[in-house]
């Protein structure tokens, strides 16, 4: 009897409680729909340092070293909170505007969106994918260079091939400059994204900085579980948000909406002459142009006019470019002269088929091709380039370090080449010699950090023999150029204006090679003798006597140069703009201040370690 009663009560109570919870669930759902906030579960925040550096566009250090190289950005900080120029940090190859002022720098591309400032990038992989809540960058020298932080949906350590790779901008800003070069922890407010990530990309712009920026570590803070907050936020549709442009870029080839003739209500815009509309449209960025093409037939005609596409820079859209996008742009690019595909196509976004069909469509008139950091390139792609672009004059393969050495043999077919950048590539001796044999019109050549070239003396003598109009040469970190090779080079290439011999350990001043260089190249405007510890007073005096147009000089790290010879140089070279005397033991801060006072137009750089 009692048991029956207790059972009865039990059933009733359970039913009541169950209906109660159902009711609660209903109310909470209503709360969700009405946008009210509910109590969030507490999630554990995970803090991690970068596990591995996966990709980067440039660095200061040598390829098999741990000093000033990008690999230092992984792991725990080594220097922070100290400030200074230390070997254990990650340093990029260039800073300021000095490289842009050189003749070897290409002119900027038109239609670069105002928000795109990136000059270099580095990609970091972390151990665990998290929903990021904060990203902190420890900068230890001349901070302020970071302009964008992005997160990727793809896990770089997974074995699966990348599918549907999305890049989301966590933070974006302008390049800045701090008042002091002291270390700082940079922690911008980042956007919350709806996918977990363990692959971050930092983009930097050091153009406002007074010296090389140095980064020590990157910290990624995030939560493992998806934060509930995301459910409450309505995505703000921003008209200027470029993520919308992906649809436009791919839709653009699709059928346009307008089939009826629109009555005027557009302020007689269509009455303007054709060329004037073209001129107006030439100021639009590519996504805007693509959107405009969908508005009406007339504007579609204008926006697809190949004359609008004589210069095309797809670098700002590197994260969204795919074979399909190239396919849609193909029909407009028949008059293309300058093409920038730098940074694009990685992780499977571009393939040989897409690239080759695009090159076949636009290669005939192509004059300049920028393919910096394009890791999708392979030997077949280079062959396509050599076949479809017979008139190519500028080729940039900077940091294409996954391109095998065989691919470079095809470059020798581009006999009209004037500018060739092979910084940090795996080009070998035979390929470079064959290029120099056939590309005799070379004006600007960059062989910085080409570690696979065995004998630079032979390369130098080939240059002297074949490329007589050479105007700028970058031999940064060429490890075995000797005075013999240098002497041949300067006697053959008399038009040389820029010569970068930084960190070439085998050049010795006692052979007189630098004095010979100064006497042979009176037009010299840029000379980098970074970390050549043998540069001495007589070299500086010879430069002062012979190279009166000198603008940039770097003699970092020599003990043998005195203040007196520098003064002579500054007096004789009125156009001097940059003088780097970091770690020159006879030139201390007092001397630098004195010289800066007497010669205010010259930026005298003196780096410090502490």
């Amino acid at each position: 009897m009692l048991t029956l009663l207790s059972m009865f009560y039990y059933i009733c109570l359970r039913r009541r409680s169950r209906s109660g919870t159902r009711g609660e669930a209903l109310t909470s759902r209503r709360a969700v729909e009405s946008g009210q906030r509910a109590v969030l579960p507490v999630s554990v925040e995970v803090e991690q340092y970068a596990k591995e550096v996966l990709d980067f566009s440039s660095h200061y250090g040598s390829e098999n070293s741990m000093s000033y190289t990008m690999w230092n950005l992984a792991g725990v900080p080594n220097v922070y909170p100290s400030s200074g120029d230390f070997t254990q940090t990650a340093v990029f190859r260039a800073y300021g505007t000095w490289w842009e002022q050189c003749a070897s720098a290409p002119p900027p591309f038109r239609r670069t969106p105002k928000g795109f400032h990136s000059q270099d990038y580095i990609e970091l992989g972390f151990e665990e994918p998290v929903y990021p809540t904060a990203v902190e960058v420890l900068e230890t020298y001349y901070p302020g260079a970071i302009v964008q932080i992005l997160a990727c949906s793809y896990n770089p350590f997974s074995q699966n091939p990348p599918t549907d790779v999305r890049w989301e901008v966590l933070w974006s800003g302008e390049p800045t400059k701090m008042l002091t070069p002291q270390a700082r922890q940079f922690s911008p407010t980042i956007k919350h994204i709806n996918f977990p990530t363990n692959l971050l990309r930092l983009e930097v712009n050091s153009s406002l900085l007074d010296y090389y920026t140095e980064l020590d570590a990157v910290i990624l803070r995030g939560v493992k579980e998806r934060p509930m907050l995301a459910l409450y936020k309505m995505p703000v549709i921003d008209i200027s948000d470029l993520s919308d442009s992906e649809e436009e870029l791919s839709d653009v080839g699709g059928p346009f909406r307008d089939s009826k003739h629109q009555r005027t209500g557009n302020g007689y815009f269509d009455k303007l002459p054709y060329e004037l509309i073209q001129l107006i449209l030439s100021h639009l960025t590519l996504p805007d142009l693509s959107r405009l093409a969908q508005s009406c037939k007339l504007l579609h005609q204008h926006c697809c006019d190949p004359l609008q596409y004589t210069q095309l820079s797809l670098q700002p859209y590197w994260g969204r470019l795919s074979d399909a996008s190239l396919g849609h742009l193909q029909s407009r690019c028949t008059l293309l002269q300058r093409l920038n595909l730098s940074w694009t196509g990685n992780r499977g976004a571009l393939t040989l088929t897409g690239f080759s069909s695009f090159m076949k469509a636009c290669g005939l008139s192509l004059v300049c091709l920028e393919l910096s950091c394009c890791h999708f390139l392979n030997e077949a792609c280079m062959e396509v380039v050599s076949q479809t672009c017979p008139g190519l004059q500028e080729l940039n393969l900077s940091s294409c370090d996954r391109l095998n050495s065989q691919a470079f043999t095809h470059i020798s077919k581009l006999t009209r080449l004037r500018r060739l950048v092979l910084y940090r590539t795996k080009i070998e001796q035979t390929a470079i010699l064959s290029i120099l044999t056939f590309c005799i019109e070379l004006r600007h050549l960059n062989l910085g950090s080409c570690v696979r070239i065995e004998d630079y003396d032979v390369v130098a003598s080939m240059l002297a023999a074949r490329c007589r109009s050479l105007c700028s040469l970058d031999l940064w970190r060429c490890r075995n150029l000797t005075d013999r090779g240098l002497a041949e080079l300067v006697s053959g290439c008399r038009m040389l204006e820029e010569l970068d011999l930084g960190w070439c350990p085998t050049l010795q001043s006692s052979t007189g090679c630098f004095q010979h260089l100064a006497r042979s190249l009176p037009r010299l405007r840029k000379l980098f003798l970074t970390a050549n510890r043998t540069v001495c007073d007589s070299d500086i005096e010879e430069l002062a006597a012979s190279c009166l147009s000198l603008q940039h000089l770097d003699i970092l790290g020599t003990r043998l140069v005195s203040a007196a010879s520098l003064k002579k140089l500054l007096q004789s070279c009125p156009q001097l703009l940059l003088l780097d005397v970091s770690f020159c033991s006879q030139i201390d801060m007092r001397v630098v201040q004195e010289l800066s006072g007497s010669f205010p137009n010259v930026a005298i750089k003196k780096s410090f370690t502490q």
Partner: protein, 330 residues
């Protein structure tokens, strides 16, 4: 019958288990350091593991424990170079290489040569080449971890700072000790109160040991220099409880073996404090003896054997690293 069999099986399993257990345990070095700089003022102000012109480092890696000492030769000071900066940076670079795993435990010379190469990559001019140092093509072709495929032959041509260095690597799993020694610094391995291994003394002629150096400007022929491949290297097995003493010549020139062994006898257990105490007492004793004008130090003894009539200790920077082989605990 069955119980005998099962008992036998148990015993057999225990014995085999015990044996294999000793083999599979990882070893580690518990190390303490102590030292005195020759110049009293300097020794106190230097931070980190630097004693005068000497420097040392202790580094741990998953696969190995590595120690090193470097003795900066003071003679280059006249050329305006600071030998303590060279030896200090060399040791710090070795430490960093080990921590990042850029070394092969069985190749301690590789640690030295790679950190030497890294010193050349430093913007700060630690070395002062008039002519520069070349590195062989093989080394620079390597795109894999630098040290593994390094066969760096430093063709040393120009002026720099000299240092003697000794690197000791304990491979945790194989229980082997690999050493590289260039110069007068060295090590002793003591087991059961006796020296079972030692570094060979290397000297060209009296008081000018082999050096890792580059000649000063204008004096290339007249200065002694050896490539790091002239380093004396050896490897041998070690057992739990072995004591390894690594030191610069400041110790060995002032304290004969029997005195060192006497001090080591006082070391009773393997905890860090007692090792630190013993290291300190050894270093202190050597420091005191170095300034004793009447004491017949090993240095003086060696000089007399070579025909020079001297007595007394040899004032020098002293650096002592005392380690005991113990089991690896994380």
């Amino acid at each position: 019958m069955l119980s005998v069999l099962s008992y036998g099986r148990l015993v057999a399993r225990a014995v085999i288990g015990g044996l294999s257990q000793t083999d599979s345990r990882d070893y580690s070095l518990v190390t303490a350091s102590c030292g005195f700089g020759k110049d009293f003022r300097k020794g106190i102000l230097k931070k980190g593991m630097c004693y005068g012109d000497d420097a040392c480092f202790i580094a741990r890696h998953r696969s190995a424990d590595v120690l090193g000492v470097a003795d900066g030769v003071g003679g280059w000071r006249d050329y305006g170079v600071d030998p303590s900066q060279f030896s200090g940076t060399l040791m710090k670079t070795c430490e960093r290489l080990v921590k990042e795993g850029r070394f092969v435990p069985s190749n301690p010379v590789g640690v030295l040569t790679t950190s030497y190469y890294e010193l050349l990559q430093n913007k700060v001019p630690l070395l002062v080449p008039e002519h520069n140092v070349w590195l062989s093509a093989a080394a620079l072709h390597s795109s894999t971890t630098p040290i593994q495929s390094y066969t760096v032959n430093l063709i040393i041509r120009s002026s720099s700072v000299a240092a003697q260095a000794c690197i000791v690597v304990l491979d945790r799993q194989s229980h082997r000790l690999h050493t590289a020694n260039l110069g007068d610094s060295g090590f002793l391995v003591v087991r059961g109160g006796e020296v079972v291994h030692r570094s060979d003394e290397q000297q060209h002629y009296f008081n000018t040991p082999f050096q890792l150096s580059i000649a000063p400007p204008g004096a290339e022929g007249a200065v002694l220099s050896d490539s790091p491949d002239a380093a004396d290297s050896s490897s041998f097995d070690v057992q739990l409880g072995d004591i390894i003493l690594t030191a610069t010549d400041g110790l060995f020139d002032n304290m004969p073996d029997y005195m060192i062994l006497q001090e080591l006898k006082k070391l009773k257990n393997t905890n860090y404090e007692s090792i630190q105490q013993t290291a300190q007492s050894i270093a202190k004793q050597a420091h005191v003896l170095a300034y004793d004008p009447n004491y017949m130090s090993p240095f003086a003894q060696f000089a007399c054997d070579n025909g020079l009539n001297v007595r007394g200790g040899k004032p020098d920077d002293i650096t002592v690293l005392l380690s005991i082989v113990a089991e690896y605990t994380d």
